[in-house]
Amino acid sequence: MTGAAIPANVATADAILELRGLHKKFPGVVALDKVDFDVRRGEVHALLGANGAGKSTLIKIVAGLYRADAGEIRIDGRPVELRDTQTARALGVSVIYQDLALVPHLSVAENLFLGHELMTPLGLIDWRRTHAEARRLLAPLGIDIPTDAKISSLSMGQRQLVEIAKAFGIEAKLLVLDEPTASLSRGEAESLFVLIRKLAQSGVGIIYVSHRLEEIAPLVNRVTVLRDGRSVGTYPVDQLDRRNVVALITGQDWRSSERSRRSARSIGEPLLELHHLGRAREFEDISLTLRRSEILVLTGLVGAGRTELLETIFGARRAATGEIRIGGKTVKFAGPRDAIRSGIALLPEDRRGHGLAVILPVVANMTLASLGQFVGRLLLHPKQELQHARRMIGELAIKTPSPFQAAGLLSGGNQQKLVLAKWLSTSAEIFLLDEPTQGVDVGTKDEIYRLIRGLAASGKAVLVVSSDLEEVLEIGDRILAIRRGRIVGEFRNDALDPSLLVDAITHGQAA
């Protein structure tokens, strides 16, 4: 597997892309802090980092979606201004996101030439030439897909390949791949790697965003690690092993650190039990017990079936097999409403899609799941509701100019605290928290950890899903590793060697 096709001249090849002192601030968060980064011709350069480290901000700046507040961007040695995505494209930058930009109901060929269709002299689409050109594009890349196949009929891996071919069709010099293997099978990933090597050999520079070094080690030439918006260094890949990558990503040497903040909570009786829970293609045979005063963390890669599992417990999806017990009794939920009545709260991963109605005021969001408390014989008591909102805003230190501010105008961290406040307003006993600190600044992260510990201390049961290793080790009493929808390891969080956890998550080897 080693011995990647690294052109001999890579080390001296001139840079396609250079970023110097790149700086980007969002309200409340410094997303990128004086980051230097470069990609050379024919090189695959991995960009690693935890969630919120600044990877996606960096690639969005390169794509022309965001503009940096400060810093210089050079392409082929010339300073450029990436005003928008068209400018970036015209300069040869092509970005392939996780959610692909293909039209599902159109054919492969149609997608390849979308926006620059090949025309006959009469101004109609020249289908013969379109398919011929499409085949000419796919063949040298070794992609064997009929050009008239509908995108919707292709596997995720095949779609990924088509997307890359499309980028190649517009003569990209720099290709950015954002976690391209997240939803691919092993075989599909292999054919993707073959294609990436081919592209690199032809002189394209490639930025490969990932958080799994093992997988990409044979593929990449250099690695840059981002942490909390800063670059912590660029290394030739052969100078790194998994252990120092984990240390670089998390910023802590776990062997020497002591996690002393864990208080001696006494864990109580089981509140939530899952028995062989399964759903087709999402997760299978999940059994776990969550106890009062316990923080149980479920960790695994994105796409491992974690969100789906939480939504199933919450009644938003129906389990195909197995059963859910609450306080020892088997339950069947018709919807989230039933789950909430049984004392379950879900802090969703998709905050703006499932957590907050962004155009509604803070106060209306706060009481959305607990409105019944504020109803008298017939009517709502706005004063009580407002009082409650003011109290929660104070207790959770939610920064908002007023309780009537639209929720969408708060910063990410404050939005997350608002969703938490919404569930703290209910009488929930079981808290399901899906990536509770995603897109949240470092300061607010600590506050959220304190809230989570407070929940456990007050006798609630907390099930956290997280892919942030630092977070997993910080808050979990017990840790379950999930991979491809199955639990592959259980760890007690004392003197736990993080590399065992990483192994379980990425390779499915239980400790």
Binding site: A316, P336, I340, R341, A357, A364, L368, L380, S402
Partner: protein
């Protein structure tokens, strides 16, 4: 102060209401200068009586738009209520007539609600369908012709609802005010009202917060169609007959237009019934003023159309800024 700010959630004086508010004020000033008759009690009473049914229709329509939907069947419900009420009244007096007429209107509303809330078909499609169904039923029931010659004394009671007075107060205006007051309380002070905003704000968030979205939608279309039924009853009483084409004019489009001009968002989640009242008054006084100035009705239509687009455009500019 807190209580006052609270009302702000739905009916506050905020940028969205400044536009129609200023438009109304400007119109009143301009028309009262141009026409000495404009600001007389007679004229204002007249405008209010004429716009009472529209007030009720648009108040109901507000629910549908707040949810992010719309109700195209309101006009046809007006027609259906009119002929059924009059037809039954011919043989069975006014009480049964009212029950049957309003019942028919509620029936169509319930059908809307169930198809949208339970069968989960888009509101546009469902109400486009029931627009035809109810209009067709009105024609079938009446044989396509108006129902005149309602029996005494019922016909006088019937007229009382649409065109009568209690002292100086027109009955239809009084009913409109009561309906609007009830709706205002429902939207600002009940769980159902809050759920309407929640579903319009984000349906998936509403589901994940334990709100029974399907039930909320059924109720929304019951309110919208229920308001149309009441409006149909009043309009029918005013013309003391059953008219199969009573709601076939532009009253439906005025109803939707008034809600939009008032500043309720077509994407749902933002707005309120007081804004709709403002929107109705803008349309009503403008039409009246232009009539007094002898500007023809076709030019009026152009102006209403421009105002609808303008108000949405202004709102979308505000939206983009945030």
């Amino acid at each position: 102060m807190g209580g006052q700010r609270w009302h702000a959630l739905v009916g506050r004086i905020e940028p969205a209401t400044v536009g129609p508010g200023l438009a109304l004020l400007a119109m009143i000033i301009v028309f009262s200068i141009l026409s000495p008759y404009f600001l007389t009690r007679n004229n204002i009473t007249n405008v209010l009586v004429q716009s009472a049914p529209l007030l009720i229709l648009a108040a109901g329509q507000t629910f549908a738009l707040l949810m992010g939907g719309l109700d195209l069947s309101q006009g046809s419900i007006v027609s259906l209520v009119s002929v059924v009420t009059a037809g039954v009244m011919m043989r069975h007096r006014i009480v049964l007539g009212a029950v049957a007429g309003l019942g028919a209107g509620f029936g169509v509303s319930l059908l809307n609600g169930l198809l949208i809330g339970r069968a989960r078909i888009q509101p546009f499609i469902v109400t486009l369908g029931t627009l035809y169904v109810a209009a067709g039923l009105a024609m079938v029931y009446s044989g396509g012709s108006s129902i005149f010659g309602l029996p005494k004394p019922d016909v006088d009671y019937f007229f009382w609802f649409g065109g009568g007075f209690i002292g100086p107060v027109p009955v239809s205006v009084l009913i409109a005010v009561l309906v609007i007051a009830a709706i205002y309380i429902v939207l600002t002070r009940t769980r159902f009202g809050r759920h309407v905003y929640a579903v319009g704000g984000s349906e998936s968030v509403a589901v994940m917060s334990g709100i029974e979205v399907g039930r909320v939608k059924v109720l929304i279309y019951l309110v919208s169609g229920g308001c149309a039924s009441i409006a149909g009853f009043l309009m029918s009483g005013r013309v003391i007959s059953g008219q199969p084409l009573l709601g076939a004019g532009d009253i439906l489009l005025q109803s939707i237009g008034a809600v939009i001009i008032g500043g309720t968002s077509v994407f749902g989640g933002q707005g309120g019934v007081l804004r709709t009242v403002l929107g109705v008054l803008v349309i009503a006084f403008m039409v009246n003023g232009l009539n007094l100035l002898a500007i023809d009705t076709f030019a009026q239509q152009v102006i209403v159309g421009v105002m609808i687009i303008l108000s949405v455009w202004v709102n979308s500019l505000r939206r983009r800024r945030t």
